[in-house]
Symmetry: C2
Subunit: 195 residues, 2 copies
């Protein structure tokens, strides 16, 4: 069981941030990955990939893909994670799912492309959420965003088409003064049904 203070840190008091300061070290980024990697995925497929955009060159490449509302805060953030997924995630299966060596055969072939993309998107998104929770748990504030042009990010960062962008997440120390008022959540009765 996790104590109340920790539940606050990862869920109840954690907020989506809009203003960030640094520094964020490479060691911190690695620490977040080394924690979030333990989250479960279908057949341990782990399709999520991340580009940590930190250099001015990489920021300049990202910039044209951002929607106006996300532009300034992202350019000013110490790091922006491009949460992506690998369409050929299954190539790692002989090592990552050794208990069923023939599993890889279920992913090979052009007739599997649509199912593979579904698996990559589902599990890459699960892992994206693990990433947000892990970052918060380790003291980094997050600013996840869907407001950008995925095709432009893909053309700029993944020209060979193997990785696809999913969402973006600014990282750093959040400025509480720039957080928006918290919006309401659906009730249990609206979202859930006990059958």
């Amino acid at each position: 069981m996790v104590d109340e203070k920790s539940l606050d840190a990862i869920f109840r008091q954690a907020r989506t941030h809009n203003g960030f300061s640094g520094p964020v070290s490479d060691a911190q980024l690695r620490e977040v990955y080394e924690l979030m990697k333990w989250g479960p995925t279908t057949m341990n497929t782990q399709p999520m990939r991340i580009v940590f955009v930190r250099s001015q060159e990489a920021k300049d490449r990202l910039k044209p893909a951002l929607s106006p509302g996300n532009l300034d805060k992202t350019m000013a953030a110490p790091v922006t994670a491009i949460i992506a997924y690998d369409l050929r995630f299954w190539e790692y299966l002989p090592r990552t799912f050794p208990n069923r060596p023939q599993a890889i055969d279920g992913f090979k072939g052009d007739d599997k492309l649509a199912a593979n993309e579904c698996t990559a998107f589902r599990n890459g998104s699960l892992q994206g959420a693990y990433f947000i929770i892990a970052a918060r748990a380790l003291g980094l504030d997050c600013g996840p965003m869907s407001g950008f042009d995925n095709a432009r990010v893909d053309a700029a960062f993944f020209p060979d088409g193997r990785w696809k962008s999913n969402f973006l997440c600014n990282l750093g120390r959040g400025d509480p003064a720039k957080v928006f008022p918290r919006n309401p959540r659906l009730s249990f009765e609206e979202a859930c049904w006990i059958a």
Copy 2:
């Protein structure tokens, strides 16, 4: 910051379980939702929906959709959550995203169906991961599964087509003796790139 014991409970020591005992109360299910609901989603869209399969009638409806490897453990679990998403999630936006009342217009119309399904799948999956982490944090063990026939679950539980199944998650007190050996994770260098 979250202490080491809590990081173990939600990530490092948490495992996907295959044998479960109860009881799991309605109050516990509600508690998990009331925690995970705070996780962030695009424009606070919150598309995830959950059917908690608990009654024999509901188990019988779920049963024909399960793959052989997931059948017995799921029929024996105290509760199985069908993690789903609502394709018309955006109808709640005037209440859940009140700061931009015109936001709902961006989701209306047949030409928005594909983009809406993408938003529902991405964010419904993020919320599915929040659900797993929240359940673990509150002392429930999880057995998430993709091995089932989504179309059959949808026909059995969501015949009007508004909700779509995403993945399943058994819930209860896990039996450590039935946990499989832990499979390896990708290294930071394989999954991440600092640009």
